[in-house]
Symmetry: D2
Subunit: 348 residues, 4 copies
Amino acid sequence: MTEVALFGAGRIGKIHAANLVRQPGASLKYVVDVNPGFARDLAAQHGAQVVDAQTVFDDPAIGAVVIGSSTDTHAELITRAAAAGKHIFCEKPVDLTVERAQACAKAVERAGVTCLIGFQRRYDPTFSALKARLDAGEIGDPEVLIVTSRDPGAPPVEYIKHSGGIFKDMLIHDFDIFRWILDDEASTVYASGSCLSDPAIAEAGDIDTTAVTITTRRGRICQINTSRRTAYGYDQRFEILGSGGMLQAGNVRPTEVTAYGSKAVSQDLPEAFFLERYRAAYAAEMAHFFDVLQNGSTPRTSVKDGLAALILAEAAAKSFREGRPVELSSAHNSPLADVLAAVGAAAQ
Amino acid sequence: MTEVALFGAGRIGKIHAANLVRQPGASLKYVVDVNPGFARDLAAQHGAQVVDAQTVFDDPAIGAVVIGSSTDTHAELITRAAAAGKHIFCEKPVDLTVERAQACAKAVERAGVTCLIGFQRRYDPTFSALKARLDAGEIGDPEVLIVTSRDPGAPPVEYIKHSGGIFKDMLIHDFDIFRWILDDEASTVYASGSCLSDPAIAEAGDIDTTAVTITTRRGRICQINTSRRTAYGYDQRFEILGSGGMLQAGNVRPTEVTAYGSKAVSQDLPEAFFLERYRAAYAAEMAHFFDVLQNGSTPRTSVKDGLAALILAEAAAKSFREGRPVELSSAHNSPLADVLAAVGAAAQ
Amino acid sequence: MTEVALFGAGRIGKIHAANLVRQPGASLKYVVDVNPGFARDLAAQHGAQVVDAQTVFDDPAIGAVVIGSSTDTHAELITRAAAAGKHIFCEKPVDLTVERAQACAKAVERAGVTCLIGFQRRYDPTFSALKARLDAGEIGDPEVLIVTSRDPGAPPVEYIKHSGGIFKDMLIHDFDIFRWILDDEASTVYASGSCLSDPAIAEAGDIDTTAVTITTRRGRICQINTSRRTAYGYDQRFEILGSGGMLQAGNVRPTEVTAYGSKAVSQDLPEAFFLERYRAAYAAEMAHFFDVLQNGSTPRTSVKDGLAALILAEAAAKSFREGRPVELSSAHNSPLADVLAAVGAAAQ
Amino acid sequence: MTEVALFGAGRIGKIHAANLVRQPGASLKYVVDVNPGFARDLAAQHGAQVVDAQTVFDDPAIGAVVIGSSTDTHAELITRAAAAGKHIFCEKPVDLTVERAQACAKAVERAGVTCLIGFQRRYDPTFSALKARLDAGEIGDPEVLIVTSRDPGAPPVEYIKHSGGIFKDMLIHDFDIFRWILDDEASTVYASGSCLSDPAIAEAGDIDTTAVTITTRRGRICQINTSRRTAYGYDQRFEILGSGGMLQAGNVRPTEVTAYGSKAVSQDLPEAFFLERYRAAYAAEMAHFFDVLQNGSTPRTSVKDGLAALILAEAAAKSFREGRPVELSSAHNSPLADVLAAVGAAAQ
């Protein structure tokens, strides 16, 4: 039985709580949140106690922590949890700065704990089936990846101001998809963007529409297009062209009703937003976390993946600011060396 | 808090157990099964006790029973549960004979308890969305209903011998769909059939392929086609033509991957069988049962629906045996009168 | 060079004219129509002459006739053309009575000419691809055929009064599809029907909605559903379940535009009606006619197919009138014997 | 009646010939080709004469020329035809150099003749329906355009060597699509690329896979992805995200057969290559040409569109060579001024 503490009792915290209590061999002992009411309600629902962070780290019975609190708390909680020898599940992003994310990576490595970053898309049934079929060679060598990632609507401008910008806040997932699907690292990143949906976003110094091109070390190409707002809901698709075929991952519909009316044949819009679209993915990533802890399975994501995605986000932001492609290069081959070297390269 | 006893710890019993323990305000107290090992394992998993049926009916703390045991036990358990004043959720069919099913209907009516019959398709997200849109008038008046219902493979011949025949065993669901979707009653039933997949089924006195046509009191038409075996899995679709359009309910795919190969563009086969296809439906019907018990919602199905579907199955079997359409008629208007009168008509 | 005379300069006549002048080795010499203006316009467009029927049959240079005039003229024109040794392409149906259609079959057989009946659906790219794949064994033995055939709107009641009834006028195509796809003959036919779209159709003694079930000599089953009116256009689909899979033939859309709006994802309605839906089929059937005449290819349809479809239509009409299935049987194996014997059986 | 001369009797010449002889009021008088056999065969098929170019330009009866000969002849033929006062339909591209294409534009303008460039995609039923719906405001303001354009296989390397490079040879169509759909002009172009399918293409100094990003004057974004080779045939799709929805233009399938096998549900691959995919488009563009000539309709494309696409191709090639975005700017507003100014900008 792994006793677990949960940081964050908000929207995503509730989802993680509901999923973790279903894991055989997992038990939710503590809930920590800056909002006492949120903490109390969620703890009561699952028979857990409300405590402060120090209590969590001091309790030797706690085997793992789930971090779903606000982004600015991630790095400190990861570092303290690692120091206390707790295994870690942390929502993306690790942090908004590469330096602090690197420090997390080092702390985790030093402590030898598992640190899974919540890139939940990797656990989506459609995306993971596509990845498995790609890895099985169904379409030969991957050559071109097209990622479409659009939100139904922009968050409040107040949120955007502290989000770290669209590349870190929104495309962080797409950069992770790029690395995961292609199993390759970026050589150059070029980012264009525009503010088309809401002038307030531009006033806040951000954009709402982006187009990113990544070339990889092996000569592959990835194009990402994102928007903060569509009229038709959440749009999460990608396709990969390989030497022997193409695989597409489409949106998921709530129902399979098709209607023939007098004007058109129509079907449901895609699932409304990430909570609906990735419901199964959130459940699967939590199951994976406990599978890693209890059965020694290989973690599908690590803090280094979180760091690598962040480095790509910084490179994209820099490319956009400077209106030119940014190079990410490395002379070394080990993944961590890559990541560290890449930081240097991106900071050029 | 409603304390519940579960009859049947087999495949479907496990699903009902898992769904009922998730209902707020429901608690699984007892598990009853002729196989002590099955009962013990399922009871242990959910912290329930293994008891015999009498204990269930004698315990005034038990508010409801869930019946997932073999078909031949349903009628007796319904009758005893009703007599003991317990609310009832019972898997389809109520029974294989109209007489015993009628007795159940009377017992339930006399006791004034809720008796929900597990026609889980009514809770499928796609089917129930279609029904809601139809009822909202999206396609005007319904005129023609086409039901396609095909299993991935036939059950063992030993099962078929005691199944009551394909019309009662398999089409019982389709007859319920017909009544639910069209909100109308059969006027005539004509059934054709053939044994095409396995001669052993014919030797057992049954068929594996059917085509049923129902005309309704309001002049609508329903065509049902079923098969015990497809090469491509479970196929559960229907479409309804209305005066103002058409609605189709399609199969559900495990993933939304589309593959472009050198020969074809392909997608996943439908969900493999009923446990996968109707996973969400099983959860929703159990939630509905407790919503009825705790919030007084109107039951979506009753023992009378179970009886009515059985009467249609008998009429279809008779039509097939005699090679002619069978009439179902009634001079009365109350639903139960209809059902009772229909029995007389079908028995002509 | 085959010199051709065209009977009928109306809507379908114009289509046949346009297609036949494109055939290498074919030349349109004469146009015959009861409406002199129609004949003159069409003849002028293609450099042909307007003549009467006798001129056609007396001209030894004429090798073939294309009959696209009204149904009541077909039998006489077929008989005269056969007697004159002309090859014949005739729009369906051969006639509205089995007796006259039989006489045509005999006349054609006696004369040894080709007589292709215009069941254009057999030439539709989608339908003929499905048939070729079925014949190649892709889904094993065919078991169940579901035919959906719905018109966008009913013809004028005046037309309906002289149409021979829905089974001869509309389902004649579906009966031909049944025979062509399954390569099997009917054993029993059961027809239900209703008048749901327009009371005037009922007053004219006809119905607008039908459901037909055919069982075949080899135990296969076919269900046909038709309607005179949909809100969404022309609907022409079928699917065939085989022992090793299923093949579906879907509707054709004018364009492949998909629109994501704020309510739904939508696509084009199917092609509007038969002239649009079967444009390619009309061209292909005319090419086939000349391929038969000039290269000796085997005719894909014959006057016997026209007769057989008519017999099924009569059997269906009889079944509907009498409210019982009608048997079609034969002790003989040659196709014509079948057809002739079937008439006797249907007339029982 | 417009008498027409056709230059080029190869593959595309034959298509244009077949389409132009079907235009009411058009007559094919002359065929010109460097290969006498090709010219003779095509002329014979349509009752035309084989002549040399000078004869065409000297014949005052010739009202229009259709140029389907090799790319290196286009500029000279356009210039001579314009000087002779003939209207012109010319296959893309105008030329491989901006200078010569500009000279053509000036010659055409001076002569006041129509010069339609064969960007046939603008006439594709799916693409033109999408454009019409976009222009009608169905999805509000366009924001992001994604163009996917992939060939089934690369042409021979010998062809590639003289093709002008992938940006001029293949993407010229996509640059035209961009300008047509968005009704906007490029502000910057950034092109990445790789050679992944065949090293011989790299040895010839070209690439086979590209990813282009265009930002427009109004802040919109276009991403183009192309490949010389897919395993699944010709892939021609695009989608446009607007403020009020999204429109997608999908591939066209030869048939609407869907097959359910034991592994997957599959449909036809897209139409094989441009001759199949754009059959209707080639017919429609020729009809449009004669509609312009005879009814004074506004030409859908002009030599300036050909020039503008070429300028984008040059800018993309330059961007790829230099590894940086290239700006295209203009201070003027008239379309031609734009184009001319753009040349200067692209040459920076």
